[in-house]
Amino acid sequence: MGRYIIRRLLQSIIVVIGVSLLVFVILYQTGDPVVLMASPDATREEVEELRRALGFDRPWYVQYLDFLKDAARGDFGTSLRQGQPVFSLIMDRVPATLKLAFAAFAISVSVSIPVGVISATKRNSVWDNLTMGFALLGQSLPVFFLGVMLIWIFAGQLKWLPSFGQGDGSVFNQLKHLILPAITLATFSLARNARLVRSSLLEVMGQDYIKTARAKGLVERTVVYRHGLKNALIPVVTIFGLEFGQLLSGAIITETVFAWPGVGRLIILAIQQRDFPLVVGSVMVIAMLFVLLNLLVDLLYGVIDPRVRYS
């Protein structure tokens, strides 16, 4: 177990370094940001000087190795535009994104499992057809369109909820700001998970050990929840883990629609402004979060399914 975790952590480090290399190479293909940073009437010499001062005159691999060396010590460089350390800029934004992602994740899990279970136990009922129809719709709805529609209905027409920002002050006010973005972000995964829970449970309920459980006279509820659901959730948990990473990426769009001050908006802005250190740093942070989550999910797997052996 311990060795397994260490090996996985080492693999994760390789992946994160690979991600940084990928982003670094892609970004440096676009040319350096110096031209955009220098004032419009700067002479060629002045631009050259700025380039030297910022270190953009060196070959990209030298810059990359330098970056890695600093990153290993926790220094991700300085934002070209805002003049602050990249790491602290990102960390300022991480709570907002995590708040949004966790809220969406909570909605998705707490709604999709009961919906999927009821649909599976009452297969082909009105409830089943209705919820699965909605789930299909939810899977086909673009995140940004859902966001725009929700803003139109709940902020524009009904004026019940605010349409942008994170809100400050009372918890109640912050919750009000959170509702629309969280629903927007949750919908796709909610729809997919509800369908997954349903089909997974249906598959399990056809197994022999369920027949055995019924044959020995267990109450149907025990059969469904103790014997069925527990096994049906195994594939679902893997998806949930991956889902959290997808939520982080869906957050980029949701944050744009709702002007939510998270990492996603920071990245979009940084790319538009060609703030290279900031882009590389934030992508690395997201990649790290993602990889660590995957590791956690794999470990959780062993708790749910004792048949899993780590080697």
Binding site: G18, R123, S140, V148, W152, S199, S249, T256, V291
Partner: protein, 327 residues
């Protein structure tokens, strides 16, 4: 309505291997014995049609796709308006049936006086072309790399799978944005971008299936008669993975269209004059508060219906070809 459950394997695919159905397909429609007795008289084509007609949702999906394709192909015939230039005095006209609307503009006009119906028709071209071509590119990359990784194993496999891990650790949209930043704007660039960012699913699934197929007797037999690796990979193993590839590709078209719409919504991708559904929703965003709902609602519905159509057809294809495949 009789809906086939993914969990109840159709008689044709009673085999244990996920690829059993694919094998049947690849052998020119030869069906496993279990099925011959039941529907012996039906040939291959009628069987797929029969299965489709049984599934009302899938029929609905096919209908939507036919309409969208028709709209895309015949856009210039179906409308007289220019999709990229409007008449400013006619800006923000509501749909024809509501107060202040005109029959000239069925779904109303946007802030530049461009006909929304026309832009939706032309937008269908972008969505479909991007969806289909990018999926073909992604499929080609993923199939080749998946075959190589699964067939040769060892170091090559390690490297390819590590690339997969790296690509999976970067959010899809982020990767696309970064690549687009390098390539610049344009339809061809967005297609290449989505093609490059989408190959991973094929790569993983094909690799997984190759791992189980390469140990089979027919592969050994092919090797024994001196077939080259390339020919074993593409002629003997690849056909067994067709079913999975078709299923993945059908869902990938939907997610690619969504991705294109998202990128257009973010203002990346094609120049703003070119009508795209995502770009239209984005442009309408400024008018949420003023209540000009038609500007963003209709293009949004167009995306939703198209993606829905593809998804239900994909669901049916999975039930039909390989109910056990999980994506």
């Amino acid at each position: 309505m009789e809906r086939k459950e993914p969990v109840a394997p159709t008689p044709a695919f009673a085999g244990d291997q996920p690829g059993a159905s694919a094998a049947a397909l690849a052998e020119g429609g030869a069906r496993p014995l279990t099925e011959l007795g039941r529907r012996g008289s039906r040939r291959k084509m009628p069987r797929i049609l029969y299965s489709l007609l049984q599934n009302k949702l899938a029929v609905f999906g096919v209908f939507i796709l036919i309409v969208v394709t028709f709209a895309a192909i015949f856009a210039p015939v179906l409308t007289d308006h220019n999709p990229e230039a409007g008449i400013i005095v006619d800006s923000k006209k509501p749909p024809a049936w509501s107060e202040g609307g005109s029959r000239e503009y069925l779904l109303g006009t946007d802030s530049l006086g461009r006909d929304i119906f026309t832009r939706i028709l032309y937008g269908a071209r972008i969505s479909l072309v991007v969806g289909v071509v990018a999926v073909l590119i992604a499929g080609a990359i993923g199939i080749v790399l998946g075959l190589i990784a699964g067939y040769y194993g060892g170091k090559v496999d390690d490297i390819i799978m590590r690339i997969v891990d790296i690509q999976l650790a970067v959010p899809f949209i982020l990767l696309a944005i970064a690549i687009l930043a390098v390539l610049g704007q344009g339809l061809d660039k967005i297609i290449i971008t989505l093609g490059i960012s989408g190959w991973v699913t094929y790569g993983r699934v094909v690799r997984g299936q190759v791992l189980s197929w390469r140990e089979k007797e027919f592969v050994e037999a092919a090797r024994a008669i001196g077939a080259r690796n390339i020919s074993i990979m593409f002629k003997h193993i690849l056909p067994n993975t067709y079913a999975s590839i078709i299923i993945i590709a059908s869902f990938a078209v939907a997610s690619t269209i969504l991705a294109e719409a998202s990128l257009s919504f973010l203002g990346l991708g094609v120049p703003p004059d070119v009508p795209t559904w995502g770009g239209m929703v984005s442009a309408g965003r400024d008018y949420i508060i003023t209540g000009d709902w038609w500007i963003y609602t209709f293009p949004g519905l167009a995306i939703m219906l198209t993606v829905l159509g593809i998804n239900v057809v994909g669901d049916w294809l999975r039930d039909y070809l390989d109910p056990r495949l999980r994506l």
